[in-house]
Amino acid sequence: MRSVNQPVRKKDAMSLVTGQPVYTQDIAPKDCLVVKILRSPYAHALIKEIKTESAMKLSGIECVLTYKDVPDKRFTLAGQTFPEPSPYDRLILDEKVRFIGDAVAIVAGDNEKTVDKALRRIKVKYDILEPILDFRCAKDNEVLIHPEQNWRSLCNVGADNKRNLCASGEEKHGDVDEIIGGCDWIIEQTYHTKANQQVTMETSRTFTYLDETGKLTCVTSTQIPFHVKRILSNALELPESRIRVIKPRIGGGFGAKQTAVTEVYPAIVTVKTGKPALIVYTRRESFIASSPRHENEIKVRIGADKNGIIKGIDMITLSNTGAYGEHGPTTVGLSGHKSLPLYGKVEAYHFRYDVVYTNVMSAGAYRGYGATQGIFALESAVNELAEKMGMDPVQIREINMVREGAVMPAYYGETLNSCALDRCMAKAKEMIGWDEKYPRINLKNGKVRSVGVSMAMQGSGIANVDTAGVLIKVNAAGLYDMKIGATDMGTGCDTILAQIAAECLHCSVDDITVSGVDTDVSPYDSGSYASSTTYVTGNAVVNTCETLVEKIRDKGARQLGCAIEDVEFDGARVYQVDAKESINLKDLTVAVGSDKELSATELFCSPVSPPPFVVGMAEVEIDKETGKIDLIDYVAVVDCGTVINTNLVRLQTEGGIAQGIGMALYEDITYGESGRNFSNSLMQYKIPTRLDVGRIRVGFESSYEPTGPFGAKSIGEVVINTPAPAIANAVFNGVRVKVRELPITAEKIYNGMKQKNI
């Protein structure tokens, strides 16, 4: 293959590394109004009175908006295909505020200083309500977070605003009580994963203006341009035909921008004033009013027979969606659907869940999307089972892991057509030196070195939902223009999809121009999330290329005066197989007297979502005096099917693991008693620096996914899932302390050791 499975440079690489002005704020018109938000100081309150006159009087202030100025029709900010599973529980501004940081008023003015002054001049009186801050107490609490009449749930997800439920449900296969009851070994434990921030280096930001036809144009750092169009239409009660969304280069997504965090604010300002408007979230705002990972408490019960074969798994997930329900009903599903199928010999499972509203910031989508939480719980429980049985945690996985060809009841009944999990395990073992290092090596300086393991899976897009459109046309130069609706957020999909097209069209990647998303111009795509782009949009590229090649051959044959069966296309020209005649693509495109444009467009939606797999192994060093933990080495071996771009896949893996390491060791959104968010800066919420990640080493063991483009599956999310359980396992193997609540801090390790008197 010439273009696929190559380390091709990203098309935008050189402009990014030389600092060109290509991001949202860089290209905003200079005369944009500055938009800022007044935020609630209370976790739960009703606005009794709000006075804006004095703020309005300031010269340079263009508008001050309160709940009285916005449509009273609820919507969701979640970027999901309609009808969204996330409930319609938001207004742009509400009379009721539901977390500290919730929006109370929108101010727009000429410059930042004046807007800041105006914010201070707004006087608000609140009726303070009792907040719900512990998500374990939310369900059926007499305090209701969304009692309003016009709250709506569009899908059958078990939501009930009268019970503080954003979703609730259960699934089962076989009789889990009977199966586990008959098991020789049983583990029953509860695990707690915390809310984490994506911390995209570019915080959320958006500018809006009216174009020459009066259309609301929204340029925004988003993963979901087409959904943003619908969200704005819902929020502003404007027809979608009056809205256009453009995505420039964006500074990181990781799911943070699968929720329309900032778009509605400048949009309503532009609608009200007719003027361009820009909002740029501060880092602080992006910490207190954004869309972090759902906090989960997961109870796991597993049973295994005397040989260690895992026969039954019972999982109960309680998920905290915070003040609003963005991605609540869907993330929780993944905690089961993308952990349980890892174990292929399970005869029965039961998976139950509740997603509850509380008075903390709304959760959202973060890489891994619930799978990360479920995998921490299940993988930790399996490690505890191995320990109880006196088995090597690698061995228990080797005998239980799902294999190619398996039908997976917990994974929508799909058949596993491609799986190299066994090879990933073998390679990871070898790379880290498991047999020499397991369980621990005591060092002379009072420290101990130990290793730990975890497996993980994810999906490749949302089956039967995610839809991608691709349009390719031959331009006058005889090269290709490709339009996609998928959003490159640094992940390189513009390049990866061009590689796939180049492979299909027998040309070089440079011959293909890719235009990013403009909803007025690009074909529809549900967006870049759920690890969908390479697989779903990649398949759309393959199909589009097939159609286009047919058209090229057809037109060529007619120009050459023969039948289509007699010609082939080699990337440069259409030629007669049995004769000398040929016509090159450029001449064909502009051939005089021809009536057919050489372009093709196809949509693709997959009936399946083939899972990629990872085995992660961590080596840590722990100080037995203090509990201080250092990550020494992290090995991940990935099966993402065929690797399309060898560089970008490696980077995705290393980057996802680094984020997973942060989640495992210190990232934690903490709230005070009144609901104040303490994790409101990079001082309080630390992400890994280059001194913290130790060494990350990555290997690949590719299976071939028959339904994927050139055999590819996804890579984006699966890579974040192993660090937390693998590091927890390494801690146990080192100092026999079980940490069941993230993050795994020195303090928890120290306290654990003290209790055990190690």
Binding site: T18, G19, M201
Partner: protein, 157 residues
């Protein structure tokens, strides 16, 4: 107050507020490579050179740059392309938002550190956060670049 400074060797005289921040001033003068990633001097996205020293422009008053020479990536395009090519060859710019701050820091590091170890490189650059890459690809790119410059004889893996 009136100040006079050089931005990428161009002399600028301007009237500014006493509390004006260098980062905003530079962006207002067309240096869009300078990014803001925090309000707490933690991220390094805003790194520029002031009289040949790396500073965080987010926590530098414009007044402090009076009479000084400020260089941003706009003024180092050739060098940025050279090292940036190594990043590009690793795919180590993912979203690229951290790239300008990193690139200007690396270009300065090569002048200051002779034959640095991996650890020294990571320490020098520890103030430049990146959320996408996991840092390994950046390190590979930096080592190859140093090697080409003859500034490091380290083994390259």
């Amino acid at each position: 107050m009136i100040i006079k400074l050089w931005v990428n060797d161009k002399k600028i005289t301007d009237e500014i507020d006493g509390d004006a921040i260098l980062l905003d001033f530079l962006r207002d003068h067309g240096c869009y490579s300078v990014k803001r990633g925090c309000e707490t001097s933690n991220c390094g996205l805003c790194t520029v050179l002031m009289d040949s020293k790396l500073v965080l422009s987010c926590s530098t008053l414009v007044a402090r740059a009076d009479g000084k020479h400020v260089i941003t990536l706009e003024g180092l395009q050739e060098e940025a392309k050279e090292f940036g090519g190594f990043l590009a060859d690793q795919g180590a710019e993912q979203c690229g938002f951290c790239s300008p701050g990193l690139v200007i820091s690396v270009l300065t590091m090569v002048k200051e550190l002779k034959n640095p170890s991996d650890r020294e490189i990571s320490e020098y650059l520890s103030g430049n956060l990146c959320r996408c890459s996991g840092y390994m690809g950046q390190l590979r790119a930096i080592k190859r670049y140093l090697n080409q410059k003859g500034a490091q004889k380290n083994e390259i893996s």
